[in-house]
Symmetry: C2
Subunit: 190 residues, 2 copies
DNA sequence: CCTACTTATGGCACAGTCTGACATAAGTCG
DNA sequence: CGACTTATGTCAGACTGTGCCATAAGTAGG
């Protein structure tokens, strides 16, 4: 059996409760202490699960990593790179709860501290995209072009999601991403 | 005449001294208190000139804004959007001191806290690019495609500069940016 | 049951960033 | 000289984040 003292709450529950509190009061208006109190744990424990406050909001992205990686692996080799990435993101988002996502993404889009992300989740996601681009270009993942293009694509995706959340666009988040990435190719050609 | 008590040091001198201290000891190894002591001013005053610690490093970018905006205004209408932006950035950087720039950019590239930027300078710069893209696309500056593409292009530029500084690339920073942005168009087409 | 071990949690102190309120210094203008 | 204006300094405080150590709550084995 599993040794040691069992956690009071699973990571999922913890995250759900924390996000609920953050959404209800606003990211900048609530402190880690208030979040911890609301959940019923100590601040120290909260910080152990989420090293940075921003991780509370971004960490949920972790769940879509495996899915995204799988989509990349299965991507049609004949499909253009950006199209393949767009398709993968669209699929990952199509299964998600749009209303909950919109609320969380709007929070990110409207909170500067959350937009400038160096969270572990965000970095892992970027690496995934960079490696995919590198394979497509046939270049090493630490080369200039994969890094520059991968980072740019990630930025476009995040910005598209933010725009979708801010504007209250009637479509799905996946559609917004597809549009945004297509805008990238248009600019590249024009 | 100018009323009130004159500043002890101009903003330029302040910034130069602060950057010198940061570069010599490392961004994360030096505190605002140590920087203030090194200059000979109080921490509070230092914070008044640079609201965030990251501004000390990024603020110098401000100087190239007007130049960048001018280049955009003079850009050849027949030139492709990315080419025009690339050319403008190259020109702005060609006049700069490469060694000093490399040192500062390497600091940014190797300090996570400096890469995730929401500094005022960075945001102004982004808006400049977004507006240029919007004019080229004939779309409003708050539309999805200009925002997504503009943000992506800025990310590619910054990432290219970081790569150039990290790798010790023998070329100029402008060349690295040109390469990185070209990689963006390649991915868009492939 | 009792002991050893393992893991989660809590409490505490602390460094560091950043802000607000207020006093003080150093100029100009009349 | 006195009124005004601007820059600086001092102080207290909130907040994030980390290290250290004690404690709680389980399991495994005698």
């Amino acid at each position: 059996m599993r040794r040691g003292r069992p956690p009071l709450l699973g990571r999922q529950d913890l995250r759900a409760q924390a996000i609920r509190i953050v959404l209800s009061r606003g990211y900048e208006n609530v402190t880690m202490g208030q979040i911890a109190d609301g959940i019923g744990i100590s601040v120290r424990t909260l910080h152990r699960y989420f090293p940075a406050k921003a991780d509370i909001v971004w960490d949920e992205v972790d769940d879509s990593f495996d899915a995204l990686g799988d989509r990349f692996a299965q991507a049609d080799p004949g499909m253009a790179t950006i199209e393949a990435i767009s398709a993968a993101v669209v699929e990952v988002f199509s299964g998600a709860d749009n209303d909950a996502n919109r609320e969380r993404l709007r929070l990110i889009a409207m909170t500067p501290e959350l937009q400038s992300v160096q969270t572990s989740a965000f970095l892992r996601w970027r690496q995934e995209i960079i490696h995919f681009v590198a394979r497509r270009l046939g270049e090493p993942p630490d080369g200039l072009r994969p890094i520059a293009a991968g980072t740019a694509i990630q930025a476009a995706i995040v910005e598209s999601l933010g725009w979708w959340a801010r504007e209250g666009d009637p479509g799905s988040p996946g559609e917004a991403v597809a549009w945004g990435l297509r805008g990238l190719t248009v600019v590249g050609g024009v």
